[in-house]
Amino acid sequence: MENTARIHDPSTYTIEKQPYYVPVGNEVTLFEAAYSSHLPVLLKGPTGCGKTRFMEYMAWKIQRPMITVSCHDDLTTSDLVGRYLVKGGETVWVDGPLTRAVRSGGICYLDEIVEARKDTMVVIHPLADDRRIMPIEKLGQLLEAPESFCLAISYNPGYQSVLKELKQSTRQRFVAIEFNYPTHDLERQIIIHETGLDVVSTDKLLKLADMTRNLKGNGLEEGASTRLLVHAGKLIAKGVEPRAACQGAVALALTDDSDMIAAINELIGALF
């Protein structure tokens, strides 16, 4: 096992090894078509259903560097575009991730876009329509995005909070691709590939996933995602007792409510 982190330059680093991704529908062709027509893409779907993995896969497929920004409510325009810093008594301009992606013609992926404040998001508007330009006011520059530049954003419509909705003027600039949990066959295939688990245990995990998804809206905000199943599967494959693995990777990860945890533990106990 390597013990030191490797350093990559985000503007040039491209993914070499093909990320494991199984297409659920027509999302790959849709993305490719949108990319070649210079249209920005909006990925929506519940957490852990493979949005980020899909982006990695596409970045690998088109061999462009991908810069990911995880949005949060303190994200400012300068955090995206860039800012002047003071260095040795002088001010120096430093590009933000968005600017860097535009300059290098890569993919800029804004993860969980609704977490960012609405006024911050306006900065991507000129990039997201047919102009494809990015004004950098502080530098007095107008950056025109190269052919290969691609803007992608993602969000989880499950949060249905009034405060966390995407503005119409933002969302109507994007080609939307909807993601959902894969079908059982696909999900089984994914878990087995990612964890090396046997089919019997995998099927039990799938059943557990269905049970927690039944609870959505009845005390749970979301059911167990494919990601959680993979986590649980990895633990089981490492020899952790299945009940304990699922309690740690699924029940406790899903909720803090003690009754709900108890109920999910009972479901786990009924299955394993």
Partner: protein, 704 residues
């Protein structure tokens, strides 16, 4: 820790008991009691006298009866059990009155027989929250859990006993409940009730016997299903029951149905099957009644929903049927759009198609189809014919709200909430003690608000200005360690400092500060009779002023009034909810605040803090405007009891992250408010006329 003091003497005990039971009025005999208590050590004496006093606050006769019996009971019961015994008696008194409560005390032996039940049994209240979620997680129809005399299901509700204590360990008793719930779920999920119970066993001479044989065989089949579906639970079930060995392998195969069971019934009529411990009772009448009603309702509902879906999809809903009553002939009408349900390979799932194209039905339709498939095995074709316009009366299929939750309204009254109340003397909650209803306040003339504003014109202007200054606005903060931009002034200064040989400051940036005032306020207004006259005017004017400033600030706020007579008639008046805008309607309701009855505060605090907790805000304030102590109509609430209950309710609110605050005009407020609200969380206004002006000012201090 045992008390180190000497035991009380006979005389001391006598005096204590005489005072406790006020014997000159009640004529109760206490000499024997004192005699009985005398040989005990001081700690036990104190324990008994403590509980006697707590029970005495409920009823003197219960307490007396308790003291008579408790000395004997001491040998048989642990203190924990004695406490449970006393609390049970007090609860029984609350619910059923004196005689049943005395019986609980008198029949101490039957209570003792139940001690195991109480110690190791699991109550319905304990298992319900977990198992109702558990059964919801298993696939299929949404099933409810309810308390019943025995364990059975009517195919919609799963009944469990009040206390399950058949096994030795509490853990196993819980497991038993879980197994029973899962078994009843399996009965529904695997179609045990797809049998016409009314006629299926007619051919047998002894119907009861046939039914029992059916149930026993079906149990074997369902065990096979559970072993496949929930292997972990099945292991536990085998451990609980200890039954092994597979009979009738035909029933164990995955495709065995209830028809196979029916065919086997004649072979086993005279056999005695062992009763499984988790096996629920079979109640054919309840099942048939429930299923018949549901099947009819769901057929109608599905047809109506499909018609709605067609409309949304933009297809012609349905050609007008000449005679709506002849439902069966509808299929012959020229090519109506055809729905079809196909089961998918994965078993539980299905796909809905319209003219062979798959469509995604909304969740309610999905649930409906799932439910229908559970009853019928598949969806009968006549269910999939969209209903014609006006074919059914909506009242036929719309379930009434209060049907679904009988506890929502006591005595079948809508919109009533039940709350526990804290009994300080008993040191215990009285269960479901208060019945509270939310009522709309009759609006009065909204012009009142204009008049009130005019009256305090000068002050309003001043207040607005003050509060505008308070309003958090976006502003540029200079000389920050981090920020979006370089602060050139600071940089120049820092460089100059550097040249001078001094240390360079690191505060070189400007940061845009954004407004983030995230406060929700609940105003709880006393509408008791004592506010009649100028106090009521002052309260209303205060509200007007507060609304003005709250609108300036943009904080979210709600206003509710509270009053009532007695515990069964607690009332909350909606004046402004968090969603309501401050418009003419709201103003009219503020004007409509009138003095009503009494001030039972605890229940109002519990209800309103629950409402406040649904609001997502950083700071949640509960401000009470009041003119006096908590009180109620000739009730114990007028005593320390009321103050303690209110205090307890405020504790509960604080635990959930609410900041309570009280503004009062009661001159004696300092006698009890610090006890209820804490020293810093109340303020007394000596002059009612100043109330409107002060209230806004207090709000300012509270939130900055």
């Amino acid at each position: 820790m045992k008390s180190a003091w000497l035991p009380r003497s006979y005389d001391a005990l006598l005096l204590h008991l005489e005072a406790l039971y006020e014997i000159e009025f009640t004529f109760l005999k206490v000499e024997k009691l004192a005699e009985g208590l005398r040989p005990l050590d001081r700690d036990t004496q104190d324990f008994i006298l403590g509980w006697a006093a707590r029970l005495n606050s409920t009823n003197v006769y219960i307490s007396h009866e308790f003291t008579i019996r408790v000395v004997d009971a001491l040998d048989k019961m642990e203190r924990r059990v004695i406490e449970a015994w006393a609390v049970r008696a007090a609860d029984t008194f609350d619910r059923l009155g004196l005689r049943p409560a005395l019986e609980v005390i008198q029949k101490v032996d039957s209570f003792l027989a139940n001690t195991h039940t109480l110690a190791e049994g699991v109550t319905f209240e304990e298992v319900e929250p977990i198992l109702s979620t558990f059964v919801c997680g298993l696939s299929g129809r949404r099933l409810k859990l309810a308390q019943g005399e025995s364990v059975y299901t009517d195919s919609e509700t799963l009944y469990l006993p009040n206390i399950s204590a058949r096994l030795e360990k509490a853990k196993d008793n819980f497991l038993l409940c879980k197994a029973q719930v899962a078994f009843m779920w399996a009965q529904i999920r695997f179609g045990s009730f797809r049998v016409d119970f009314a006629t299926a066993f007619d051919a047998y001479p002894d119907k009861e016997q046939a039914l029992a044989a059916f149930h026993a065989l079906d149990t074997l089949r369902l065990e096979g299903c559970l072993a496949r579906e929930l292997p972990g639970l099945w292991r536990d079930m085998q451990r609980l029951d200890g039954v092994k060995g597979v009979e009738f392998p035909r029933l164990q195969s995955p495709d065995a149905t209830v028809q196979d069971v029916l065919e086997l019934v004649p072979q086993v009529l005279h056999r005695d099957f062992p009763q499984r411990i988790y096996q629920p009772a079979l109640n054919p009448e309840a099942i048939s009644a429930c299923m018949l009603a549901r099947m009819e309702r769901e057929k109608i509902l599905l047809r109506v929903k499909l018609a709605e879906m067609l409309k949304e999809l933009g297809e012609t809903p349905h050609p007008p049927t000449p005679s709506p009553s002849e439902g069966e002939e509808e299929k012959e009408v020229a090519t109506p759009p055809e729905f079809e349900v196909k089961e998918t390979l994965e078993g539980a799932g299905f796909e809905l198609t319209l003219d062979d194209k798959p469509i995604a039905p909304p969740d309610e339709v999905k649930d409906l189809i799932t439910s229908i498939m559970l009853d019928w095995g598949d969806v009968p074709p006549e269910f999939l014919v969209p209903a014609g316009p006006g074919e059914y009366d909506p009242s036929l299929y719309e379930k009434k709200e209060n049907d679904s939750d009988p506890w929502k309204g006591i005595y079948h009254e809508d919109g009533a909430f039940l709350y526990d109340e804290w009994d300080n003397a008993r040191q215990h909650y009285r269960k479901h003690w208060c019945v509270l209803r939310e009522i709309d306040i009759p609006p009065a003339d909204p012009a009142y608000v204009g008049l009130a504003l005019q009256k305090h014109q000068g002050m309003v202007k001043h207040l607005r200005r003050t509060f505008e200054a308070m309003r958090d606005e976006n502003r540029l903060l200079k000389r920050q360690v981090q920020g979006d931009d370089v602060d050139i002034d600071a940089l120049v200064e820092a460089l100059a400092d550097c040249r001078d040989g001094r240390e360079m400051s690191d505060k070189l940036f400007m940061h845009q500060h954004r407004a983030d005032r995230n406060i929700a306020v609940m105003l709880m207004v006393d509408m008791s009779g004592s506010t009649k006259g100028w106090i009521n005017d002052a309260i209303r004017e205060s509200l007007v002023m507060l609304c003005e400033v709250l609108e300036t600030l943009g904080d979210r706020y709600a206003i509710y009034g509270f009053s009532g007579i007695g515990r069964k008639r607690c009332e909350i008046y909606r004046i402004k909810t968090f969603e309501d805008p401050y418009n003419a309607d709201t103003k009219a309701r503020i004007a409509g605040i009138v003095p009503k009855d009494y001030t039972r505060m605890g229940v109002a605090i519990r209800h309103l803090s629950q409402k406040l907790n649904t609001i997502d805000a950083k700071t949640r304030l509960l401000i009470t405007l009041s003119d006096g102590k908590p009180e109620d109509y000739f009730d114990i609430y007028n005593t320390q009891y009321g103050i303690e209950d209110t205090r307890q309710a405020l504790f509960e609110a604080r635990r959930t992250g609410i900041h309570p605050f009280c503004i009062t005009i009661d001159k004696h407020g300092k006698d009890y408010l610090p006890h209820m609200y804490g020293h810093a969380n109340w303020v007394e206004i000596d002059d009612v006329k100043k109330l409107p002006l002060k209230v806004a000012d207090i709000y300012r201090r509270l939130t900055t």
